[in-house]
């Protein structure tokens, strides 16, 4: 017993002593040679949500707090998940005027669920969109559409995404607009949109009309009818796919005409109010 104890102690004691010496040296060094950091950084960091989502364009919340405190950026409205409340707090700390945050929600530009399109192959590999895309490009008829394995769902910190009928849906009432899902989708189907908008193109197929039609009954066939009915010239068909310029939407006098007239119904009219507008 005694021998074991001695053996253990001869190993433990030197390590502990060396560890303590190192610790003391490091603590003393960090106190003596401390570099003064801007005291606004922890204050701003405190206000931010701490999701480290990168929606502001900086490396996490720490990066944004540092950039604000050191004057790299003056925009206090970059934190989309935080919304107006965070922007107000930051503006108070920095003593600048409050800037309105454009609240955003994620929208999925694919509505080709199992009613509109069908599987081309039977995929039984790793249940992930990225893996399925690597093998056949897609498992369904449409090579652009939602694969439905929920890579976005896994990326979402707020459980705002669900998979129904084989494709992903965003519950905008839960979406904070962090944009993590936009990076997770291997087909790039998800984009962020200001949550005041009411129309959205729910297709990303860039094939010619006939090809698209064959793959999915919901697909945009590029018929340009929306271009014609839009009173503001806000819709353009680019690469056989309708694209809406939302900056022109507020002036629209016949709102929702594009969705009403869309031949395949891929332009949808709906309420996308996000979490920040839920009272």
């Amino acid at each position: 017993m005694n021998e074991t104890l001695t053996a253990v102690l001869t190993a433990v004691i030197p390590i502990v002593i060396i560890g303590i010496i190192c610790a003391v040296v490091l603590v003393v060094a960090s106190k003596v040679m401390a570099v003064k950091e801007n005291e606004k950084i922890p204050a701003i960091r405190e206000c931010l949500p701490g999701a480290n989502c990168g929606a502001c364009g900086f490396a996490g919340c720490d990066g944004y707090a540092k950039a604000l405190a050191e004057g790299e950026t003056t925009a206090t409205n970059l934190c989309v998940p935080g919304g107006d409340t965070v922007s107000k707090k930051i503006s108070e700390i920095l003593g600048v005027e409050f800037e309105d945050v454009v609240e955003q929600v994620a929208v999925i530009h694919c509505a080709g669920d199992c009613k509109y399109t069908q599987d081309r192959v039977e995929y039984s590999g790793i249940q992930s969109c990225a893996a399925a895309k690597l093998i056949f490009g897609s498992k369904g008829d449409c090579p652009y559409g939602c694969l439905g394995f929920g890579d976005c769902l896994k990326a979402c910190p707020n459980n705002a995404i669900c998979i129904e009928n084989g494709i992903a849906h965003v519950n905008t009432k839960l979406c904070v607009g962090c944009g993590l899902c936009t990076k997770a989708c291997p087909n790039g189907l998800i984009s962020l949109m200001a949550d005041v908008e009411r129309v959205v193109v729910t297709c990303s197929n860039k094939d010619k009309g006939a090809v698209t039609r064959k793959a999915c009954k919901n697909g945009c066939i590029g018929c340009k009818k929306c271009e014609k009915v839009c009173s503001q010239n806000a819709i353009k068909v680019v690469n056989n796919l309708a694209v809406i310029d939302y900056s022109k939407c507020p002036d629209c006098d016949d709102f929702g005409a594009c969705a009403r007239e869309c031949t395949t119904g891929c332009i949808m009219l709906s309420d996308f109010s996000g979490i920040h507008r839920v009272k």
Binding site: T10, I15, I18, C22, A23, V25, L26, A34
Partner: protein
């Protein structure tokens, strides 16, 4: 001092026993930070610096603390402990006194704290029974070898970026293939250094 012996140690550490390409130590920065030339160079210079510092500190610890007390079995853990604290200390000192150097090396220093190439150099110095001067020369050579491998590989990777890679090989697979071919090329240097001074 046997100058020729030192030169052989230096050159073989750079070319023959290259830590990354022959001993497969320090692979993670080799694959992780080699995307851009300036980052690769920054990281490698930090590694050279830390390797020299670590050897200078761990060699006396081994010779005057562990060996006389029969504590050789504690070598690995003590070295990890000392190297990690040393790198932290260096970072603090750099941040305070040489901010410009901290800016260019700072981000890489924490990455190196437990890098296996650094630990490998310090331990191999002991097992090879090098003297203090030989150890320092070996560390310098290993660091330079790391630098060479990183800079070479970042060049290879920039070429790959422009190449038309088959879809299945894109990303990490082609990087690993390129790394293995780069490593093969170093095999051709075996035996050159010893015969150079024969």
């Amino acid at each position: 001092m046997d100058f020729k012996g030192l030169l052989i140690i230096l050159l073989s550490a750079v070319f023959i026993n290259n830590y990354v390409l022959s001993k497969f130590l320090g692979i993670c920065p080799f694959l992780g930070v080699s995307k851009k030339l300036n980052q690769a160079a920054g990281m490698s210079i930090a590694v050279i610096f830390v390797m020299l510092m670590a050897t200078a500190v761990t060699y006396p610890i081994q010779k005057y603390l562990l060996d006389p007390n029969n504590l050789g079995f504690l070598q690995t853990i003590v070295f990890i402990l000392v190297i990690a604290s040393l790198v932290q200390l260096v970072e603090i000192i750099l941040k305070r006194y040489i901010p410009s150097l901290h800016k260019s090396l700072g981000v890489y220093l924490p990455l190196i704290t437990t890098n296996c190439a650094v630990l490998g150099v310090t331990i191999l110095n002991i097992t090879e029974n090098y003297t203090f001067v030989q150890s320092m020369v070996n560390s310098l050579g290993s660091g330079l070898g790391f630098f060479l491998a990183m800079v070479m590989f970042s060049g290879v990777r920039s070429k790959i970026e422009g190449a038309d890679v088959p879809k299945a090989f894109q990303g990490l697979p082609i990087t690993l293939v390129a790394a293995s071919i780069t490593s093969l090329s170093f095999l051709g240097l075996t035996g050159v250094i010893e015969n150079l001074f024969a």
